[in-house]
């Protein structure tokens, strides 16, 4: 139990620090780690990810539910601390150091170089959730209703800015009503 908690903390501390380009970047790694090293199922991972979309604040707060699901209240606490505190400490340190690099051309170099890496990781995160959502785990076939919702939401957002919370609740309701 204690070893498992430590392992859980170590995994999420690493995920928090490796989140280059935001939380989406670590979704594939998080899915892999929680499903293969702990006993979360793909479906539970997808469900918990969806819960994070409904709650306010950073969507990645859903990691608390992963911790809770795996190891109870203590698991939630360990995951929360591990995912956020090291990252905050690193950011604080970087903020204090940042001013020293203000004029350095390397600062822009790092930004320019890491930007496409971050975008690539976001593509991978989107793909990870997409595969869990758009393809049926049972039949291996694509799920037409999910695809329709994904395309619909994407089209609406490209067309104009709509509160994502509304789109999220609407999509859940539509899926629920149409698949009875």
């Amino acid at each position: 139990m204690r070893t498992q908690l430590l392992k859980l903390g170590a995994v999420f501390a690493m995920l928090g620090i490796l989140a280059v380009g935001g939380g989406t970047a670590v979704l594939p790694e998080m899915q892999h780690a929680t499903v293969h090293w702990f006993n979360l199922t793909d479906k539970q991972f997808r469900d918990i990810y969806s819960l994070g979309q409904v709650a306010p604040g950073p969507n990645m707060l859903m990691v608390l539910v992963i911790g809770y699901r795996l190891m109870g209240a203590l698991g939630a606490a360990v995951v929360g601390i591990a995912f956020f505190i090291p990252d905050c400490a690193l950011t604080l340190l970087a903020n204090r150091l940042w001013v020293h690099f203000a004029g350095s051309p390397w600062r822009l170099t790092v930004q320019r170089g890491m930007a496409p890496v971050a975008i690539g990781l976001m593509c991978a995160g989107t793909y990870a959730i997409g595969r869990l959502t758009l393809v049926s785990a049972v039949t291996g076939r694509i799920n037409p209703l999910s695809i329709a919702i994904t395309i619909g939401v994407g089209a609406i957002l490209l067309w104009r800015h709509v509160n994502p919370g509304i789109l999220v609740l609407l999509s859940g309701t539509v899926y629920m009503l149409l698949s009875r």
């Binding site: 594939p28 409904v54 539910v65 905050c88 496409p116 959502t133 695809i147 939401v153 899926y175």
Partner: protein, 215 residues
């Protein structure tokens, strides 16, 4: 944006911000941002509402948080908290940001734990996941607009994506292998135009994408 110890350099940064003010502002941003888009709320409250930061200050704060690992909305709370009130400010801001969402997501998690065998719950959450895929795709396209149009950037994107999604290489290795190469490819001497861009205060960070912040 320099840290608070050198507050004389930053114009339009509020003085006399109490820890409770910091907590309150980020608590509000963390409580009303249903469905994500926390950064947009932070900007609205920090720049438009409380006027603690000028829009330019906010954008440079966002730029730092985008370069640093970790969640952008949390990184912004850390930087603003630190710049205004030091380490206690960081604690107040981050606590405010994450408390409302943590409580709500845990309540949802408890409800889900006792109901996730109900097909209605499963369908509802599947619909949400489908919406999330649409939102993530659009956010990725908008954030990467510049990168998708450059051959070199596109190559880095494809290699990164393939390493993670196809070859299932662990993220730490991917970053350690591709990060230095990507940075090397953009090393200062090879690209004069970019260095000049730095002197112009990074014009690409004023692009239209900041109108639709969603992280």
């Amino acid at each position: 944006m320099p840290p608070s110890n050198t507050a004389n350099e930053t114009p339009a940064v509020a003085r006399n911000v109490t820890l409770f003010d910091l907590f309150k502002l980020f608590f509000l941003a963390g409580a009303v941002s249903f469905g994500g888009g926390v950064v947009a709320y932070e900007r609205e409250y920090l720049v438009g509402g409380a006027k603690w930061l000028s829009d330019e200050d906010f954008l440079s704060t966002l730029e730092i948080s985008e370069t640093l690992p970790g969640l952008n909305s949390v990184d912004i709370a850390v930087i603003v908290g630190d710049n205004l009130r030091g380490i206690p400010g960081v604690i107040a801001a981050v606590a405010g940001l994450v408390i409302p969402g943590s409580v709500i997501v845990m309540v949802l998690g408890l409800l889900w734990s006792s109901s996730h065998h109900d097909p209605r719950v499963q369908h509802f959450l599947l619909g949400i996941a489908a919406a999330a895929v649409g939102m993530l795709s659009v956010v990725t396209l908008q954030l990467g607009r510049r990168q998708f149009q450059s051959a070199l950037d596109l190559a880095i994107i494809v290699v990164t994506f393939a390493a993670v999604s196809i070859f299932k290489i662990s993220l730490a290795w991917v970053l350690l292998a591709i990060g230095p190469v990507a940075i090397f490819l953009y090393r200062p001497a090879t690209d004069r135009a970019l260095t000049q861009g730095a002197e112009l205060h990074l014009p690409f960070h004023r692009g239209p994408r900041h109108g639709k912040l969603r992280h």
